[in-house]
Subunit: 145 residues, 2 copies
Amino acid sequence: MQREVEQFCDFLRKKGLKLTPQRLRIAETVFVTHRHFTADQLYELVKKVEPLVGKVTVYRTLEHLVDSGMVEELSINKGVSTYEHVAGHGHHDHLICVHCGKIVELSSERLEKVKNEEAEGRGFQVLSHSLKIYGLCPDCRPKST
Amino acid sequence: MQREVEQFCDFLRKKGLKLTPQRLRIAETVFVTHRHFTADQLYELVKKVEPLVGKVTVYRTLEHLVDSGMVEELSINKGVSTYEHVAGHGHHDHLICVHCGKIVELSSERLEKVKNEEAEGRGFQVLSHSLKIYGLCPDCRPKST
DNA sequence: CCCTTTGACGAAACAAGTTTTCAATTGAAA
DNA sequence: TTTCAATTGAAAACTTGTTTCGTCAAAGGG
């Protein structure tokens, strides 16, 4: 975790942005959380450690984190943005259980390759993509008896 | 188009819902529009034909249309829902140009197959999925000289 | 050391999209 | 025709996220 926080500090310094206690706390919370979260959930988590942090600061810091490339926005739910930190994960897709809400990460070279080929076959230059597969996870799917 | 509107009427009847002129107008507009639209854009389109339809009714009817499976929500832009009717199209993915905003539909048997295999290989029972590929369309990408 | 400058802070106001409330109305079954 | 739940549209409420604004604090120059 320390690794990622320092990387974010470097990013701030390079951008001429200041390293405030609030940003530090928020970044720490983000990188210590190994699951997806909304801005508001993050705000609640940070408040537990440091109640003096405002919601606006969480939003603003989240923006910087996304800017730095260390956090990604998922838009899984309509109307509310969901985030995750990608440090040490690399790009991946998501399997989402419609029953229990569990989100499983999926990395597949083969899938990446096919995606790129199909897009480029249509003249598109691929910059990024987002694949979400909805279904029933192993725990929620009907058992095969 | 008539085909789809009738199918929607059947859906309403089966659900014990009423067939009002407003719903008819909204459904007609949806199935006559062969591109993506937001709730507000749909409202504006409907108003041209029938100015007496309220925005709320458009939202509510859109809900029924999504319920019937004849319209899908895309969540391409954050903060505003984008829809498209799927009648006669079948499932497809989307290539989205980050420069001009153009949306191109992409259907690929091969891609579908790989997606399903990867998900099921992890014990997931696939119900649906959403793939959005962001990049530069043929018109916007740098020309290879 | 003090002063100035430049973000940064948080509360509150604002904005956009969508949903809910509510009283009046309407479609369709009996 | 009668009845009644479903539907309607205006307005208000709600949700998420952004902007404004007065205040503050750290860094750097004089």
